[in-house]
Symmetry: C2
Subunit: 366 residues, 2 copies
């Protein structure tokens, strides 16, 4: 059964650098704890994984922010760490804490035991994708995602978040052979996983290299970028005759924009440390840029939120309005939205982005 036709294609057009009437906006982690209705659903689900693995709950929370705000895309409600969980590492989320693996990968035997997981173990994700796509009924496109091979490796070795990445970097510097072996398994697994999301109905996919920015220059290219490139080379470019744009976001990767500009993907995600105008020049004309408001702006009063949204749009500069391809921005935060964000701030932001970006397209007032 085919899905309903798309009503708002701004996001997908912007990914392909086609002109749009306004700058599309969606927010990383837009279905999340800052919304009281999300907290209510999560309470019913009992746990984060209870929420993510239940098709109905995952569908419900994915659509919640769209009921409140005129966002231009939905993103699958899931976690970046589902793949290593399916490898048998035992993912859990203690309340108020980050993710944790019961069985971290810290020695040669553990690395050698790693393999691309049976995708049946991730069936709950693909089922959620299809269910959400149906529930969206063509309102906006649905984005699928995964952690990058390196970011998965960080959590797999550390077993949890870290502030110094000592364990994973000890392996990287001390046993680079093991690290490469793990990253190869991760790259194969992530590619298979994202292709299955595409087959299930994802209309774009995003690779979150959340921890690429903690690497040293040189190590980033070798241990993160090279494996992200491998994943990209294995992804489907089209599904059912429609292009599937691919977004790569390396948090803290601003120093490597020129090299990331060589990646075979349609969109680069940027955090707030990057100047969007400079990024346009460094990346070159072949990619759309996604970002990059500091999520903490959403704690300010409405006039400051509006001013900062305008600043980000103006930093990118004039979007193109003609036929063919040209400079193209997708508005987003530079990182996931904070759980402490007042929900009304998001409304201010979305409206400011839509209205100022329409003004920009109307050209300078005379």
């Amino acid at each position: 059964m085919p899905f309903a036709p798309l009503q708002n294609d701004c996001f997908l057009r912007a990914c392909q650098r086609l002109s749009t009437p306004h700058t599309p906006i969606w927010l990383m982690r837009q279905a999340g704890r800052y919304l009281p209705e999300y907290r209510a659903t999560r309470a019913r689900a009992g746990s984060f994984m209870g929420l993510a693995t239940n098709t109905d709950y995952a569908t419900e929370v994915t659509l919640q922010p769209l009921e409140r705000y005129p966002l231009d895309a939905a993103i699958l409600f899931s976690d970046i760490l589902t793949v290593p969980d399916a490898m048998g590492l035992g993912l859990s989320f203690a309340l108020g804490e980050g993710p944790r693996f019961a069985t971290p990968v810290r020695d040669e035997a553990a690395v050698n035991a790693l393999a691309v997981p049976d995708m049946d173990k991730l069936r709950y994700v693909f089922d959620a994708v299809t269910s959400i796509r149906k529930a969206l009924n063509g309102r906006v496109p649905l984005i699928g995602f995964s952690g990058s091979p390196w970011t998965l490796a960080c959590y797999m070795v550390e077993g949890a978040g870290s502030d110094d990445y000592r364990l994973v970097k000890s392996m990287l510097y001390g046993r680079p052979d093991l690290m490469h072996r793990m990253l190869q398994v991760n790259a194969d697994a992530v590619a298979t996983y994202l292709n299955a999301q595409i087959e299930a109905g994802a209309q774009a996919v995003m690779i979150f290299d959340s921890w690429g920015g903690v690497l040293a220059d040189g190590a980033f290219q070798q241990f993160s970028l090279a494996y992200t490139a491998q994943v990209l080379s294995k992804l489907k470019r089209e599904h059912d005759g429609v292009v599937i744009p691919r977004i790569v976001f390396t948090k803290g990767g601003g120093l490597w924009l020129q090299q990331m500009g060589q990646l075979d993907c349609e969109v680069l995600g940027l955090d707030w440390t990057v100047n969007l105008g400079q990024a346009r020049q460094l990346v070159g004309g072949h990619k759309a840029l996604q970002g990059n408001l500091d999520p903490n702006v959403l704690f300010a009063p409405a006039p400051q939120i509006e001013a900062e949204a305008v600043r980000v749009l103006d930093a990118f500069g004039q979007p193109h309005t003609g036929s063919g391809t040209g400079p193209s921005q997708i508005f987003n935060l530079g990182h996931g939205i904070s759980q402490h964000t007042p929900p009304e701030s998001v409304e201010v932001l979305v409206n400011a982005v839509h209205s100022h970006s329409r003004r920009l397209r109307a050209g300078p007032s005379t």
Copy 2:
């Protein structure tokens, strides 16, 4: 009473871009918990502040790493947060945790109550500087330091470390007037504090902008860089007829190197995300560069430590060997040394830096 004449002036010469027989090396947090003798002294002192405020203890631990390794500089044992502590915010360090302020600065009344502290409250720091300088007896120069105005503000508002800087950025975006008021007090206090360290015997000073890198492009320039520049403009250039080099280190500041290259200081510190060769080009010829090995390299076996040290030296490229000024590196880590570092790794590193940098100066083998 004048201090003893300096025997090893490599570090001070490198700061001024004068030629040196080898690349000088020192390590951020080189007097610290990875050394068993430090842990023994700290146990006797009872607490971190007990250690930092006692002249004899502070002198003892500052000299400990010099007894083990042929480092080219000493750095005052103290903390970046002594200034806000002297403002009355009540600094403490719980065992195994980071710093904490009893009275964080979170509203207009608290900001208005801030003032440059009486330097008598920081007498213990200046006494330690003089005592260490005497104990060094001219072996290597002594570096004094402070947190940057912005980094102090982060801790003053958050009250402790943070992973999202939500409170301080809420003030920055919501009440920029308050943030500027606080930063002005901090800049005045830091300049006064560093000048007093110079008068007490510090032969170079370093401003740690540890959290500059968490700011958005635009905000960094306005709320961090501008106040660091103010501090620099107020610092003594010489003391007793000798030049006092000034080092600025913004962790995560690699994207703003061109602008930092305009600062009125002698040295820029860099973290490991930066390519030293590119940094040389971006910063221009008027500053020495300090950095930038990933501290986690020190968890690898000796051959990998040596290889990574060589990689960092080679990335910077050929240092100059002639008369006058020219390209000049000071080797360091890109951040403080980890408490978990094996002490023998530091010996491997220091020897590798000294020997490879001597080879580099001898020119390419034919």
